[in-house]
């Protein structure tokens, strides 16, 4: 996996890409150079300012106006495209002057910066929309179970459906309804969810016990307003008795009830795990959000970056494929791309006199490596010589005996032997105990406490292959 050849390849690619992207930006610059001198006096003034104020040599200051120039060019393109999302646009509008193209890309790629409509989730959207809308129109109650792995847009899609329906209310197509959103992580204990729901519903603060009775009273009388309840992280509400789940799903079945419950959770098999009376009430309206495929992930990233020309298309595809192979989590893909942008930015600032280069596969690969590399391996790579020898001693003993656990005594013997073989002064027992403790505190090895400190059992907490890889790599 961590073969040097691959890394070299990557580095080679990076350089290659930088050269080619530099060419691109250069051409952009030259195109605008004639116009810029006339049109943008501000960049010129800023150039003056920077040269007068900053002591740093002119390399960076000379670069900056160029970057801002190319940003300006893309920015004017932004204004002409009407399809762009409003919110993102306004955000950029406010601060545009102070931001480089990379920063803009980073803002757009931020997970919290959600678009107004989720790409690739149209079917799920219309499913939820139809479900709620039918129930609203017919003045009935019902429940729906929405499930899928994290980062597949469950909560966001449902929220957008409710927003969309609210707009329908404003346009007088639908009768008004109330919507409540609760997250099971908001409460310390499952029963407290009643309190939260009641508070959201009426604004009153009552005890959880009282809230149940009040809510149940509410269902006895015919109400003239539908209520849409969105329960996020439903699996947190599972108790031994499962009464919270039961009540949540029993309410829609009360006579005259106009209570619509949308429950969101990760586990697909939750309805099979709960009591039969709950799954009977939960019904069959189940909606599954499948993990995003690489095509969809690519689309998501591309739509966010629509008019910002910072990414190499291959780089997006690479990131999408990397994520789709493991989890299909959109948040992950965005995080990787954002990190890659940061890396590309750093590269650009390092390069002297050159401006903007595109984010390429090398950057993405680096970002992936940084995010998913094992902390333990990094830790061991930077461990002291004696610590490494200690680990080596454990491996040797493991290979000899085939047992995962060994006593500290035997390790000390082997360690001394190894030291001599490497022509070093062996450590005394106290020093070695220090080494052992420091390794144990970082959980690279696990210790089983014993009365006699030299008899305690030691086992390593990472795979032998990985340790061997690190130790051999160092020679």
């Amino acid at each position: 996996m961590r073969s040097k050849k691959a890394e070299m390849d990557v580095e080679y690619n990076v350089e290659d890409e930088i050269v080619s992207s530099d060419d691109d930006t250069m051409s952009v610059d030259s195109e605008f150079s004639t116009a810029s001198t006339v049109k943008t006096p501000r960049t010129v003034s800023r150039l003056k300012k920077e040269t007068t104020l900053s002591r740093t040599p002119s390399v960076s200051s000379a670069k900056k106006p160029k970057a801002s120039l190319s940003r300006r060019s893309t920015f004017s393109a932004v204004k002409s495209t009407p399809s762009m999302q409003k919110r993102a646009a306004s955000k950029i509008d406010q601060t545009s002057d102070a931001l480089s193209l990379y920063e803009k890309a980073r803002i757009k790629l931020h997970v919290a910066n959600t678009p107004d409509c989720l790409p690739c989730r149209d079917k799920q959207f219309s499913d939820i929309y139809n479900f709620i809308e039918t129930n609203l129109r017919n003045q009935t109650g019902g429940c729906m179970y929405v499930c899928g792995v994290p980062g597949t847009g469950k909560t966001l899609t449902t929220r957008q459906v409710i927003l969309c329906l609210k707009e329908g209310v404003n346009d007088k197509i639908l009768s008004p309804f109330k919507s409540i959103e609760v997250n099971a992580f908001q409460v310390t204990e499952p029963h407290q969810i009643y309190k939260l729901i009641y508070k959201e519903l009426t604004g009153e603060n009552v005890s959880a016990e009282h809230a149940v009775t009040l809510l149940e009273k509410k269902f006895e009388h015919k109400s003239n307003e539908s209520i849409v309840l969105l329960v996020d992280e439903l699996d947190m509400l599972c108790t031994k008795k499962q009464d919270v789940l039961y009540n949540l799903f029993d309410w829609p079945y009360k006579k005259n009830s106009r209570w619509i419950v949308i429950a969101i959770a990760n586990a697909m098999n939750l309805p099979e795990q709960v009591m039969s009376k709950i799954s009977s009430r939960l019904g069959l309206s189940r909606l599954i959000f499948q993990p995003y495929t690489h095509v969809e992930l690519e689309e998501i990233v591309r739509l966010r970056l629509e008019e910002l020309n910072v990414f190499d298309m291959d780089a997006i595809l690479y990131a999408a494929r990397k994520v789709a192979a493991v989890s299909g989590d959109a948040r992950r893909a965005l995080e990787i791309c954002r990190r890659a942008t940061e890396l590309a930015e750093r590269d650009t600032s390092k390069k002297e006199g050159k401006s903007l280069n595109l984010v390429n596969i090398g950057h993405v690969d680096q970002a992936v490596k940084q995010m998913f590399s094992s902390a333990k391996i990094t830790l061991l790579t930077h461990a002291s010589k004696m610590e490494k020898l200690f680990m080596k001693a454990i491996i040797l003993l493991y290979q000899k005996s085939g047992m995962e656990e060994t006593s500290l005594n035997r390790i000390i013997e082997t360690h001394n032997f190894l030291c001599r073989a490497e022509n070093m002064q062996p450590l005394n027992r106290t020093q070695l105990l220090n080494v052992c403790c420091s390794l144990a505190s970082t959980k690279l090895i696990l210790l089983e406490p014993c009365k006699n400190i030299y008899l305690q059992r030691v086992r390593c907490n990472m795979s032998v292959d990985d340790i061997e890889y690190v130790l051999n790599d160092n020679k």
């Binding site: 499930c147 029993d250 799954s279 989890s327």
Partner: protein, 407 residues
Amino acid sequence: MCSVKEIYSEAKKALNASATDRVVGREKENDEIYDYLASCFGNKNGLSVYINGQPGTGKTFSVNTMLDSLKEEFKFNKIFLNCMSVKNIQNMYKTVLSEMISNKIDSNLAMPKRCTKESLQKLIESCITSIKHHLVLVLDEIDQIETTIKNASDIYKLFELPYLPNSKLILIGIANSLDFTDRLLPRLELTPEHKPKVIKFLPYTKDDIINIVKDRLSKVQLMYDNCVIIDDKALMLCASKIASTNGDIRKVLDICRRAIELNEQEAKLTNLETIKTVNIAQMMKIFNAVNPITNSNLDRNTMPLMQKILLCTILLCNIETKVKEVTLSKLFEKFNKICKSYSTSVDSESEFVNLCILIQDNGLIEVKKAKEVRNYKLSLKIDEQELRDKLQDETFMADILTNRAYK
């Protein structure tokens, strides 16, 4: 001629679970309850009834409609309580008492200042022996009280309330378990006259289900000049499928409603003037869509590649060791060995754990937590052979499974 959309909407409304006030297909049981209760109202004494049956067989609904209709003949008060939200016996007495007060059963009744178990019980006892008209106490999901009320004597006392001298209490318990009375009330069995009458609600049969759906739709059909909303054959398919599993009427209604929704969507595409009948193919489509096994994303072929490889690895480990459980550390090593030969890998342990949890969410494996992450135990939750067959469909996975180097 009314719009097609209206018919669909009305039909869906009629199939909503709470959208009816007529009991169909429970005549025998209803008659039984009716006779028993009526005799009791005439005799002016108390009694207890225990109704059991599987979820979705109309227990609560039957009792409620029965009591509503009895109200026209006899004078009595009714208190409905769901035992799911009862915390302890004291809490239950208190709720009953407050209901009594709010229903103005006895004008002298007031909530005591100190609510101990005994004082509340005394109050209820004195009340039910002195009132003029009967009091019907319906306890839904009564089998739940055995998890909350640990003291068996409290439950005995509860079931003895109807048999106090002059008591006017009628206790109706509703629950799923068949043997609740035999299991929990062995002492009451000794006195035959105090034995609650047990009425069984058997799962709906095929004919019952057909009748219920037809009854619900008949009103809509009458309103819109006898159009057929669901084809007889399609209804037959739905009914026999559900009747052969558990006879849950909620499921039937849900499926029929979704079939109509599907039909509506298809009709929208063709812009028909009149309503189209739901046919057997559409019904089958819904059945396939709601089947939980076909829902896992292994079948839909949307499972990410790494997750599939992980499943293969677990399968290989199981074959190798002949033990159903495998520790995470072993699995991780083997997994990376396989991955490396396809020049990919999952480096960090936390990432690997994440991967396992994702598959667990799919319901395909179970991850047993331990103190150290490396000691987590994983086991398959679906049949080995079934998984093998599914994975073998893909050449890549079949390659891994048959490659001798990994065994």
